[in-house]
Symmetry: C2
Subunit: 303 residues, 2 copies
Amino acid sequence: MAIPSFPEKVYIREVGPRDGLQNESKFIQTDDKIQWIDHLSNTGLNYIEVTSFVNPTWIPALSDAEYVAKHIKKNPDITYAALIPNIKGLSRALESSIDEVAVFISASESHNKNNINKTISETEIVLSEVVKESISNNKTVRGYISTVFGCPFEGHIEIDQVIRLADSLFEMGIDELSLGDTIGIANPSQVKQVLEKVLKRYSPESIAMHFHNTRGTALANVLASLEMGISKFDSSLGGLGGCPYAPGASGNLATDDLNYMLTNMGIVTNINPVELNSAALFIQDKLQKPLDSYSVKYYESQH
Amino acid sequence: MAIPSFPEKVYIREVGPRDGLQNESKFIQTDDKIQWIDHLSNTGLNYIEVTSFVNPTWIPALSDAEYVAKHIKKNPDITYAALIPNIKGLSRALESSIDEVAVFISASESHNKNNINKTISETEIVLSEVVKESISNNKTVRGYISTVFGCPFEGHIEIDQVIRLADSLFEMGIDELSLGDTIGIANPSQVKQVLEKVLKRYSPESIAMHFHNTRGTALANVLASLEMGISKFDSSLGGLGGCPYAPGASGNLATDDLNYMLTNMGIVTNINPVELNSAALFIQDKLQKPLDSYSVKYYESQH
């Protein structure tokens, strides 16, 4: 069998400061968050989702969004993004000079309702406004679809529903779409099936994959995606964040483990693993609990 | 890009009672080992490596090899194997009516020396005798080559050295060869490169892959192997065993995680996940420490 070729270069979207920290019970001090994001800016990462402008009562962990977004040292080669749920959040973000706006919707009606107390249709109306306003403010926009591979409430998700939402988001004007395995249930065959349909309509460059490692399959799912031509992946340093639907289980794919596999496969990421590890140890120290990543555990076994 | 086809059925070689337990510091009581292996025999697994007939002073954890091998309830549909280092070990194994003999050698001179205090050439002479004697006693034989993808002492391993040892073992008369990533350093590209060379000489049916999950890449490496036509994998229930070269880090690929990914990909394993989980919880309870597998952690997050 022929060995399939992989993309030569992969772009990692670091989501730890947002998707990681929002799922940690411990509040990380604002100055520590800023210091950590500045550390991440020195690793070679070219994309960092730094915070979320949701209502602070929803996610107290990120209630310092404005301050963080304003006080990090911005490197012009890095895209600093923030999650935005609505126009009010967008106004706060625009005042904080964020580069990119990330909007989110779930492929599952019940997960969407549970997450933001709106139907999918109601959410589409809100996002349409946010995307329009973002574009008129010269911001690029990223769309997230969550529960693409399965829902904690409904189970199976139809690929056609994912395609419908992808169409809706791209019609609004998003630049990139991230397909999320929110509960870490995807398997490589399913990843290929979903991507086969998605890539009939959209270029691989416009699609990112967002895997959780709840069942340990995230890197296998990355491999399946690479084989389909995908070169953009979301991950969280150290696997920060856990899984809200499975307390104690793993959540986000760890950036350091992803970077290990990719660079050992000869794929360019331009990320310095020593700096990455140092940034992981920094936030582990602030969290005061062991991070999930294999890279951190391996490092600690040798030191 | 075309989606590659995978083998329809995969055979899992459960190595937990040997490769798992030999790397655990806690001695599991002989009766508990027997009860656990009997439990494993009821999961649908058709291959269990139950113990090792090495010198008990080398591996005290398995010093009860004869008693265990004699007292487990043998299901005629299951192959019960044991690791055998030399003729003395073989005599003990033959008295204990084991179905299959497993012999081992390292692709790395320094790892082989460190492991069994013999050069590779000296080891080949010993194994040649063991294989010959096993065959004349109507036993099937499995060969292990360890450190195929990298050595804890030497680093890089030449594929040609692996091929030379594979030739040597198959010439001796082994039925199946297991290629081991002893320190969990392999990546999917490397797996495909090694297998491309190996499968030019040997059929995929005669090759098994033995991955460790030290860097979290084991399931991605399984996927790469499946794509090359490999349908036999070694694993250890719950990830039992850890890594002797990285204390605290993960070791063997977990059978339950492997079975989760395979069955969700639609690949037949005939293993009952509920029974498998129950057997994992049994040995976790005896070990008195949390197992590494995602499946166990996920199960516990829900119960």
